[in-house]
């Protein structure tokens, strides 16, 4: 029983974390100056945007139903969020091997190389072009 629980810890915890984070970021508004939301250390130290800058603001906008504004804060989320959900399904919710094909896809070397290349490309482009 305990081993079963331990095996499915994240499958149980993940929805709980998502709900708590959803409530917190629905109330907390990181889009305003001097909000309580933690700031990006990279941005504070160097002044450059990091690849994840804008994730909190985007999450707040999505929770308020504002998808276009969310994408405006971090365009890379269009790629990274679907991949993150695919990996989460494949590693935490792969009961009875239902997501085996998905697992093979996300663990594919070329998919991950493409992701890493896009990550760095996004990092450079957003600082050069200000997107």
């Amino acid at each position: 029983m305990l081993s079963v629980l331990k095996k499915h810890t994240m499958a149980i915890l993940f929805p709980a974390i998502l709900v708590v984070a959803g409530i917190v970021y629905y109330v907390l508004d990181p889009t305003v100056e001097n909000s309580w939301a933690p700031k990006c250390p990279m941005k504070l130290l160097t002044g450059f945007d990091c690849p994840s800058c804008g994730v909190q603001r985007a999450f707040h906008c999505v929770l308020h139903g504002n998808i276009s504004e969310a994408i405006h804060y971090n365009l890379f989320l269009v790629i990274s969020i679907p991949l993150a959900f695919a990996v989460i399904l494949a590693s935490w919710y792969n009961f009875n091997h239902v997501f085996d094909r998905l697992e093979r896809f996300v663990c594919n070397r070329y998919v991950l190389i493409a992701y890493i290349v896009l990550y760095f490309l996004w990092w450079i482009l957003r600082n050069v072009m200000g997107i």
Binding site: K43, S52, S80, V87, I88, A90, S91, R109, L112
Partner: protein
């Protein structure tokens, strides 16, 4: 006795004498990806690279190396998250420290 020790050793290296592997380690890719999505310091990339090696090393029969890479993937994902917090704490300590220093100096003048 020696034979027993040898067998025991091989089991610890995650293979049994017939060469059939035991459980494949979790490659920790999920933490690596989440680290790149949510954290600023790009250690998540190092973690992804380690995580991709796990399955192929395991398929090649290099079981101990696969386990090591899985551990490395986990380690870098954790450092990706922890380093954010460390930098923030140092930053605010410095800002607060300089602010306090400045206030004291202006009082002295």
């Amino acid at each position: 006795m020696e034979e027993y020790n040898e067998t025991n050793n091989q089991i610890q290296n995650s293979t049994n004498p017939s060469g059939v592997p035991m459980m494949k380690p979790d490659n920790n890719l999920v933490w690596a990806i989440l680290c790149t999505v949510l954290c600023c310091v790009p250690f998540g990339i190092v973690s992804i690279i380690s995580a991709t090696k796990v399955d192929s090393l395991w398929a090649c029969g290099q079981y101990q190396e696969a386990i090591n890479e899985a551990e490395k993937a986990k380690k870098w994902a954790i450092w990706g998250a922890v380093s954010n917090v460390i930098i923030l704490v140092i930053y605010f300590a410095l800002v607060f420290g300089f602010g306090l220093f400045g206030a004291l100096m202006s009082n002295l003048n």
